[in-house]
Each structure stands twice: as structure tokens, then as C-alpha cells.
């Protein structure tokens, strides 16, 4: 099949828009610095919104199309729209923050666009080589974003740690892919079902799958490969932390869905046992260690680790059903949406509070905030309560669907551990709220007023938390109709595979 550029553009333009906008925004360096930040910000926000709209439109068409490297199907369009929206919210929330820095850094928006492009590539492919390229475009942009506050030693240290550990994880992932290639003769995941199991290569195949899974575990911050996350989240600039906590998770779990889809029918792999163990450790360690943290960003880092554990529980459910079924997939997709909404909400408010030139860090910084910024405190409380999974909000329903699905396929111990762990999480999510409302303030906190567009966005997000909590039916229907290419139609036409 020859690559038809026009057809590629027709199906993949929402993703390519991000790439073009990223390149154009780099060219804006001809403008003087102050205007440059504004121009790149507007460009980035427009591109993200356009791309999200495009992905959603493509999703509505319900088509599935395979190119040599890219796959455009409802799953990739759903996740792409989510990633573009994450980018949009981040770029709006970060604008005042970027202007308040000692040196305004317009490159922030270019790097954001590049990272988002990498993320969309990750979820739009079944080819492991294209996946790694997307992963690296994302990771390299993120290493720089983390070190963006270059006069701040904490930022540099976080970038350094993230870079070293991230590169090692990439090396493991690539080594796993080379074993996968060695045992199957192809780099394309979608061709696994056609291949007959080859007993001679079984060990190599198993080792390859294990190394690939290990690379994923690192990227989503699953225990015991989580040790980088708290340090990196802590040192990174506030909006970057929010972007990492949501975008990377969506992209990595989206790609993991495709890997699990390909590996699940191969019964020689103890895939479910591996994922169950990871999920167990991640939920328990993430939640318990979060209890002992004193820094706001570290609490949120461990919280994001814990949520990765819940999502891994969903993945174990997916493997348990043997093949990709909409019933097992839709709770994961719904959870990704809700988790991104809530976490971005928290980080948007924290970014506003950090826009006064100094970074919000210690839990004590929140003392008595409700007296000075009553609205922001209320908004922040809503997001925290929903993250804990309290009933009338979206966070509760997302967890409910995930756990009930796990119980249906018989993963009782895992579901019970998840429910207990999320009960524990209520404690550390309530901590900041208690600080805001029941402690008197000592610190004179300086944070500027909030832009009108950002106010509107926050209002919409709070409305979304209650809308998804009270009327989830239409959104759940969307996630139920989101299936990967293989479930949609017969396998892609491809030359018959030969085994070595």
C-alpha cells in the first residue's frame, strides 16, 4: 500500500495541525518578547481547540482507516480529542503563569504543542516503531518543559532526574521491542493474531512482552517504577506538572490498550497476572505514601500514581475478558476523561495561585485561603472531593464503573483492595481543604486576578464535574461506542505473515 498524502491529511489532520502549529510558533521568535508570548499562546490555544474539534468530528464519522504507520479509528480519535483538550486547558491556565516568570518563556507553548503531537502519535498507531517515535517526541519535549525554570535549581534537578530515568526506560522498551521483532518478524502489533505461536521463540516473545510492559509501567508511574514521579512533579513548573499528570497518562494508557489488545489472546503470556500485581502494588503504595506527604505537589504525584493503579485494574479487567469488549473498555475511557478533568482542575487553580511569581509548594501555603480567595477555594475543594470519589460527583461514578466491571469478571481481591485504597485516599484529599477553611493565614499571599477566559473555563470544568456525576448516560454512550479498529471491522488487509 502506497502512502497517499492527501488521504493521510484527510484522516489525520487534527494531529498534524498540532505539528504545524508547533513549527509555526517557533518561527514567531522574530517578534519582540512580550508580544511573542501572547502570539504563541493564542496560536497554541487555537490549534488545540481546532484539533480537538477535528478529532471529535472524525470520531463522529466512526470510520477506521489504517495507513502504513498510523491508524485512525474511534479509539484514537477519542483519545486524541482528550489530549487536545488537555493541551487547550493547560495553555489557557498557563498563560498568566508564563508571563509572571522572571523571564517570559514563549517556547513553553511550542513545546506543549510538540508534546501533544507526540502523544497523539502514540495513541494513533499499532506499529511499535511509530509508537516509540511518538513517545520520544513527547518525552524529549517534556524533559525541556520540566527544566523550563532554568534559574531555579529544583527545576533543573527534576529535569535531570526525569531525563536519566526516562532514557533508561526507553532503552528497556526498545530492547523489548527488538525481542518482539526477533520472535515475530514484524513490528506491527495488529499482525500478532495472524501469527501462529512458535514454541521455539516462546521465551524470547515472553521476555520482549515483559520488557515492553516494564517500559509502560515506568511511563505511567506504576509501583515499583514510580520513584521518579514525586521528585519530577515536585520540581517541575506547576502547569507542566498538570500537563504531565494528565496528558502522559492518557497517551500511555491509550497505547497500552493497543498493546493489551494484541497480547491478550496469546495465552502463553501470563499478562493478567503481571498487570494484577502491578495494579495491586500501585494502588496500595500510592495511597499509603501519599498520607505522609507534606508538600502539595508530592501529594498530587502520589495521587496520580494511585490513579494509575485504578486504571491498571481496568486493564486487568480488559485482559480478563480475553478480547477487547466495549463493556470492559468503556470504564477505562470514561475514567481517563474524568481523571483528566479533575486533575487539570486542581492544577489550573494551583497554577493561578502560583502566578504571583513564587511557586506554591508547601501544604501550609494554603492556610486560610478561603478568606482571601473564597471562589477559588470552593472550586479547588470541588475537584479534591471529586478526586476522592465522593458520590454526587464524576469521580465517584468513574470509580464505580471501573470496580463493578472488575467484580463482574471475578477480580474480587483486586476490586476490594481498590475500594479500600480509595477510602484511604479521602484523608489526604481532605487535608488541603481543612487547611483552606479551618486554619488561619499567616502568609501574605500574592496572586493576581483571574483572566475572564480562565474563569469561564473553570466554571465549565466545575459544571462538568457535576454533569458527569449526575447525568453520565450520554458520555458513557460515547465511551461505549469507542472501539479500536479490530473490533470495528475485519482485520486490515495485509500480506500473509510468515514466521521465521
Amino acid at each position: 500500500m502506497r502512502l497517499d498524502v492527501l488521504q493521510l491529511w484527510q484522516h489525520a489532520w487534527p494531529s498534524l495541525t498540532l505539528l504545524i502549529a508547533a513549527m509555526v510558533s517557533l518561527l514567531t521568535s522574530v517578534f519582540p518578547s512580550r508580544h511573542r508570548a501572547r502570539i504563541t499562546a493564542v496560536l497554541a490555544a487555537t490549534a488545540f481547540l481546532l484539533s480537538a474539534q477535528g478529532f471529535f468530528h472524525q470520531w463522529g464519522l466512526g470510520e477506521a482507516k489504517g495507513f502504513e504507520f498510523l491508524v485512525v479509528d474511534p479509539l484514537s480519535n477519542y483519545l486524541g480529542a482528550l489530549i487536545a483538550l488537555i493541551g487547550f486547558i493547560t495553555s489557557i491556565a498557563a498563560y498568566p503563569y508564563i508571563l509572571s516568570q522572571a523571564e517570559a518563556i514563549p517556547e513553553f507553548f511550542s513545546l506543549l504543542l510538540f508534546a501533544a503531537f507526540g502523544m497523539t502519535t502514540m495513541v494513533m498507531t499499532t506499529n511499535l516503531l511509530a509508537f516509540v517515535l511518538g513517545l520520544e517526541i513527547m518525552s524529549l519535549s517534556l524533559y525541556v518543559l520540566v527544566g523550563l525554570r532554568r534559574y531555579d535549581p529544583r527545576s533543573g534537578e527534576a529535569a535531570f532526574k526525569y531525563f536519566l530515568l526516562g532514557s533508561v526506560a526507553t532503552a528497556f522498551l526498545l530492547f523489548g521491542i527488538s525481542f518482539f521483532y526477533g520472535s515475530t518478524g514484524t513490528l506491527d502489533l495488529s499482525r500478532i493474531p495472524e501469527l501462529l505461536p512458535n514454541p521455539e521463540m516462546a521465551t524470547l516473545f515472553k521476555l520482549g512482552a515483559l520488557l515492553i510492559l516494564l517500559g509502560f509501567a515506568f511511563k505511567v508511574g506504576a509501583v515499583p517504577f514510580h520513584f521518579w514521579a514525586p521528585d519530577v512533579y515536585d520540581g517541575a513548573p506547576m502547569p507542566v506538572t498538570g500537563f504531565m499528570a494528565t496528558g502522559v497518562k492518557v497517551a500511555a494508557f491509550g497505547a497500552l490498550i493497543r498493546v493489551v489488545e494484541a497480547f491478550a489472546p496469546r495465552h502463553e503470556l501470563p499478562l493478567q497476572r503481571w498487570i494484577v500485581m502491578l495494579s495491586f502494588a500501585t494502588m496500595i503504595v500510592g495511597n499509603l505514601v501519599a498520607l505522609r506527604q507534606r508538600h502539595l505537589k508530592r501529594i498530587l504525584a502520589y495521587s496520580s500514581i494511585a490513579h494509575a493503579g485504578y486504571l491498571l485494574l481496568g486493564m486487568a479487567t480488559l485482559v480478563g475478558t480475553g478480547e477487547i469488549r466495549a463493556a470492559a473498555l468503556s470504564p477505562i475511557l470514561f475514567y481517563l476523561l474524568v481523571y483528566s478533568l479533575l486533575t487539570l482542575g486542581v492544577f489550573s487553580v494551583l497554577t493561578i495561585l502560583s502566578s504571583g511569581g513564587q511557586e506554591l509548594n508547601d501544604l501550609k501555603d494554603l492556610d486560610g485561603l478561603s478568606e482571601k480567595r473564597p471562589v477559588l477555594s470552593a472550586v479547588l475543594s470541588v475537584f479534591f472531593i471529586s478526586l476522592a470519589g465522593v458520590p454526587p460527583t464524576a469521580g465517584f461514578l468513574a470509580k464505580y464503573y471501573l470496580f463493578s466491571q472488575a467484580i463482574q469478571v471475578g477480580l474480587y481481591p483486586l476490586a476490594i483492595a481498590g475500594i479500600l485504597a480509595s477510602a484511604v485516599s479521602l484523608y489526604y484529599y481532605l487535608g488541603p481543604i481543612v487547611r483552606m477553611y479551618f486554619h488561619s493565614h499567616e502568609k501574605t499571599w500574592q496572586a493576581p486576578g483571574v483572566m475572564a477566559s480562565l474563569r469561564l473555563l473553570l466554571a465549565l470544568m466545575v459544571a462538568g464535574v457535576f454533569y458527569l456525576g449526575l447525568f453520565p448516560a450520554s458520555t458513557l454512550e460515547i465511551s461505549r461506542r469507542t472501539v479500536p479498529i479490530r473490533a470495528l471491522e475485519a482485520p486490515l488487509a495485509s500480506p500473509s505473515a510468515k514466521l521465521p
Binding site: E136, V144, V168, A171, L174, S178, Y181, G182, H295, P500
Partner: protein, 105 residues
Amino acid sequence: MITLNHYLVLSAALFVMGFAGVVLRRNALVIFMSIELMLNAVNLSFVAFSRQFGNLDGQLASFFVIVLAAAEAAIGLAIIVLVFRRRATVQTTALNTLRDATNAS
């Protein structure tokens, strides 16, 4: 006669040496070199498998890995220079500002 297994053993040995370097050494530049060694081990195994099958996917992959290693070098060295300008050292033991502060309140 050099068989596939010879290449694979060499590749695995290089990878393990690289990983040992990452784990055991404390100098950022040496760690960085060890990561490059791991990536080259990946290249070797890709090319060896490619030769075994007689299809070019593996060689293509190794070209991409080379590009990727170069991009990583550009960003990685920039980050190391950034840290060096702050602290005048590239020892990883000196990087201990960010950690779990459990006892301090």
C-alpha cells in the same frame, strides 16, 4: 561461523554493562554514556534479527534508534550543562534537594 546467538549474547552483554553503569556510577556523564551503550545494544540486536529474517524492518528500526539517540544526546547534554552551571558538579549524589520530607512539618 558467527550465528544469531553470538550477536544476541554480545547485545545482551552490552545492555547489561550499560545498565550496570547507570546503576553503579555516580558521574552524570558516565551514566549518560552508559545509556548510549544500552541503545547501541538495542541496535545490534535489531540488525542481527533483521539479517536472520532477511527483512529490512529491523535495519530501519536501528536507523530510527540512531536518530533518537542523537536527539536524546542534544537534550541530555543541555540539561547536564544546566545542572553543572548551578552546582559546579555533575555527581548525582549532589542532587538531593527533591526528596520525600516525611518528618519535617
